[in-house]
Amino acid sequence: MELLCPAGSMPAVKAAISQGADAIYVGLKDDTNARHFAGLNFTESQLTEVARYVHQAGRKLHVAINTFAHPAAWSRWQQAVDSAVRAGTDVLILADMAVLAYAAERYPQVELHLSVQASATNVAAIEFYRQFNIRRVVLPRVLSMQQVRALARSCDIDLEVFAFGSLCIMAEGRCYLSSYLTGQSPNTAGACSPAAFVRWQEQDGVLESRLNEVLIDRFAADETAGYPTLCKGRFRVDADTYHVLEEPTSLNTLDLLPQLYAEGISSLKIEGRQRSPAYVTQITQVWRAAIDAVMQDPAHFLVQQHWQQVLNNLAEGNQTTLGAYHRKWK
């Protein structure tokens, strides 16, 4: 069972590798990946350096090219694939069937993983993407553990699941809420609720967060204000004001680790290419220890309390959830 950690910068790469990540995933410095944020990601020459560093340590490099190609800018997605391969990536994480086809035909030697953004939630959808010789599928965070188990038992392809981090509650790759409010979505621009549209305003001790002028939340002085990700805002339905879609919280699957291991899940992905090297250090430490423990003795695996403490401190709103893996969440 692989530990796959995020890295948005060279210090984060080094942090992940030094703390025992089996592989890291990164993106290029443009809108070809779903974390297209300022100050993040790598140029081709930086990527070459990353690849060298990762390979020297005997680990693997995955490059995410997981937005959808624009019709008049198709060459940018082609070039992203070319750059990643030239830089020496081991794996390409792809979502667009056009990009998948290009990579499969041009670089048959490179391992292809189906990005979560391709939204493959069932055996038939995985069957569809097999035409591109994919080796692994990253599962969307909408499935319950029972559904993950059913998939693991009915397909002979490697599965990767999200283990920790920001929680998308919508089927990834098919959520247009962000472009509805801002014109930019993960699919088209590589960002959800982009920072350029965020505005904070304080009035009479109440802090308001807005996204493209739409009020996402209001915080009293004693409340912690979180980033206005649109699906984690407080809105009103009739007379009730509450987190209509989801609370600010992070996904944490430590409790499920023995089950995921028993089902032969190939890889645990940690979300957070936009997070700091300090985050990557701490998160990798905890998950390395947890995965080692479960692999050594799955029957007696126990979640250590200090792991949970570290994870809670790193979590959005300092709270975590099993998300859709647990039926009650739904």
Binding site: Y102, G183, V244, R327, W329
Partner: protein, 290 residues
């Protein structure tokens, strides 16, 4: 230019559905999509009921397509989808690539619905090769984007092999989740939802704390708070869009159909209401009006 009625996205009682499609049969609509696309627990109408409606509508001169589920998570949902694929008579709108895999295996043509991630000429060409006859582009794309795809060189020799359809009226389907937001809005767990969405024939409106209409909750689906309305853009769609889709609303759908038909060439433009939008088509935020 033809006009279609998309599948009913809300959960309506059977009698309301039958009445709606009785009116559809008498209406000026050209194409009707039938089926449950949001939640497999909604069973007021079963596939056999939809097929009866399909035959009735076909006899009334309508072209009929079945429309499949969008978020497919369990083996039982795939079995149900398989029955839609194997109906033996009507073409299917695929709303998940899993449906395309099944249709391709059977050598059956299909419509690719708006939730299929086809964003460019290469993806479109591949799907045409697999049997796509009609492409409903993702709702977040603009008229310019559509034009750019169709202008690309690799589309020219296949342009006659498929039609284009645009979601042009109604609350936009924007997201699908593992969680049911209508059940959550009533403090119910999804497993004990008691199909409470049947009480909300137009979904539940979500307002921001300062009163703007942001979203509409429709079970596991989240829709746009505003009603998308491209009636005034119809003249610019000539030659670009073959089919204009109206998404059924509980009231007024057929009156709007008539208004759309009247404004095909710009003869009868309409004043949009404060809760209408047309941003996506005009390359703006979806909620905007241009």
């Amino acid at each position: 230019m033809q006009f279609s009625l998309g599948p009913v996205l809300y959960f309506w009682p059977k009698a309301q559905m039958l009445e709606f499609y009785r009116q559809a049969a008498d209406s000026a609509v050209d194409i009707v999509y039938l089926g449950e696309t949001v939640c497999s627990k909604r069973r007021e109408l079963k596939l056999e009921d939809y097929l009866k409606l399909a035959h009735m509508l076909r006899e009334a001169g309508k072209q009929v397509c079945l429309s499949g589920m969008t978020l497919l998570e369990s083996p039982s949902e795939l079995r149900e989808l398989r029955k839609y694929v194997d109906n033996g008579d009507f073409m299917l709108e695929a709303n998940d690539v899993g449906a395309i895999a099944m249709l391709y295996e059977q050598g059956l043509p299909f419509v690719a619905g708006a939730a299929i991630n086809c964003y460019n000429q290469h993806s479109l060409r591949r799907l045409v090769g697999m049997g796509l006859l009609r492409w409903v582009m993702p709702v977040e794309l603009s008229g310019d984007w559509l034009q750019q795809v169709l202008d690309e060189g690799i589309i020219q020799d296949i342009r006659d092999c498929f039609e284009t359809e645009v979601f042009a009226f109604g609350h936009l389907p924007l997201a699908w989740s593992g969680r049911c937001f209508t059940a959550r809005s009533e403090n119910r767990a999804k497993d004990q939802c008691e199909l409470c969405c049947i009480k909300y024939p137009q979904g539940r409106t979500v307002h921001s704390q300062d009163g703007a209409q942001v979203f509409v909750l429709n079970g596991i689906q989240t829709q746009s708070g505003y009603r998308y309305n491209l009636i005034n853009q119809l003249p610019t769609m000539q030659g670009l869009v073959d089919v204009v889709r109206l998404s059924p609303e509980p009231e007024g759908t057929f009156a709007w159909l008539n208004r759309f038909k009247a404004n095909q060439h710009g003869a009868a433009p309409q004043q949009l209401s404060d809760t209408d939008s047309n941003g996506y088509w005009l390359k703006l935020a979806g909620m905007a009006t241009g």
